[in-house]
Symmetry: C2
Subunit: 257 residues, 2 copies
């Protein structure tokens, strides 16, 4: 991104808000989403005349000024609006077992900051957490992603998939063009670096992260049948959230992903 005004350090930044439906044509926007309006009026106590930034999570960044504040609505006049093209680099899809101890929210937050493209909460044979529907978990997950994207100045939000089983992830996301990694604590494994260098031309990655009790050997075998590479992340045993964050960070920083 070469927009100078995005590149300033955090301390000087304007407040940024997520509005899922910014149109380039609109000169005036009304923020009526309860939590964003509340944040503007009650938390940040912004006033008429204050500058704000708006994002839609799909690459658009608008700058505007507050023209009017009602009880649950904030009126903004857009002065400037840019829509970025999606990155043409690599793509990282993270399928991570729902951890027992670590919070999945932490994984969502850190990997969103680091630029993961898609996240799949995953059920494996040794996953001890059962996802219960209706608990508002998905909304909470989405909120974590929105907040992490805002804070990290990410213009394209990652896609959050619904909870899937390990085999569904393989069926739907493992493909010959994609490099699939399955970190494992036992058996024959290569380093993540070697796994990447075996496929120097592909920048499209699927990372499978197991639960506290690791993947079963049957799961690893089934993934290998679908082209996955069993990898080691070093001598130390990493927690689920550390492993997920470390692989996404490494791929972003060192593999042009």
């Amino acid at each position: 991104m070469n927009i100078p005004f995005i590149q300033r350090p955090t301390v000087f930044d304007m407040p940024r808000f997520f509005i899922p439906n910014i149109s380039l044509k609109d000169q005036n926007i009304i923020i009526s989403a309860a939590d964003e309006a509340h944040h503007i009026v009650r938390v940040l106590r912004l006033k008429t005349g204050d500058d704000v930034e708006l994002i839609n999570g799909l690459g658009t960044l608008a700058r505007g000024v507050i023209t009017r504040i009602l009880d649950h609505e904030v009126f903004i006049r857009i002065n400037d609006c840019l829509t970025m093209k999606p990155r043409e680099k690599g793509r990282i899809i993270l399928a991570c077992a729902l951890p027992k101890k670590a919070k999945f929210e932490v994984i969502l937050e850190k990997c969103t900051e680091l630029g993961v493209d898609e996240i799949i909460p995953m059920m494996t044979e040794r996953t001890e957490v059962r996802p219960h529907s209706g608990g508002g978990k998905e909304e909470r997950f989405e909120k974590v992603i929105v907040n992490a994207s805002k804070q990290s100045k990410r213009l394209f939000f990652p896609i959050l998939h619904p909870v899937m089983t390990f085999d569904d992830v393989l069926t739907r996301f493992a493909s010959p063009e994609r490099v699939v990694f399955i970190p494992w604590l036992e058996g024959n494994r290569i380093s993540l670096k070697d796994a990447v260098s075996r496929n120097p031309s592909s920048k499209d990655f699927l990372v499978l992260i197991g639960p506290e009790g690791d993947f079963t050997s049957q799961e690893v075998e089934r993934s290998i049948e679908r082209g996955a590479l069993a990898v080691t992340l070093g001598d130390n045993t990493l927690k689920v959230d550390t492993a997920a964050t470390a692989v996404v960070a490494g791929l972003r920083l060192f593999c042009d992903a």
Copy 2:
């Protein structure tokens, strides 16, 4: 490490305890440190005859059996004792500004898991946290490192330095043989990957991580005068703990550090 018994997955592992003074010659060890003895007797409720592992943080791993339990002492007969040589690979020193929001404990925990060798809590111009002595913070930091080392099966614990100023870190740790990175949100920077590839032979790294408000340009200039490379960690603005963890992870996984 090629000791088969270390390589089993976590689920089957023996309880592991930190005893700072294991000698290879001792056949019998008495654990009298209050917290470790409490953990054995009250938390894990281990009994006479149970197997345990002992580590000293300096590369020794012993296996033994509990022979006697008194009020505040646990007697262990050592059956097996191995002392590993330190890794001859690279070295990662992390000097990280004391963050305002993120917890330094999280940084210690994650970077210990990932294999950082030395950690320096750092004061910079824009560091808003003042380290107060006597608050027991150093003991808490040490405890986080011990716990993360135990959990991640790390045999060599990282060194925790006392809090230092940015300039003290440069004076004491920047050297021509060491590759020094200073991630920054502004100015002329290269990618971390390019910075590493400029120094392909050196695996000895010093990573400087700034606070929420970033380093000042004067700090960056002073570090460059001492040989540091100003780097970018990508388009997204990372939190302090995410930045520290990401760089350590990337160096470990992709740079043979």
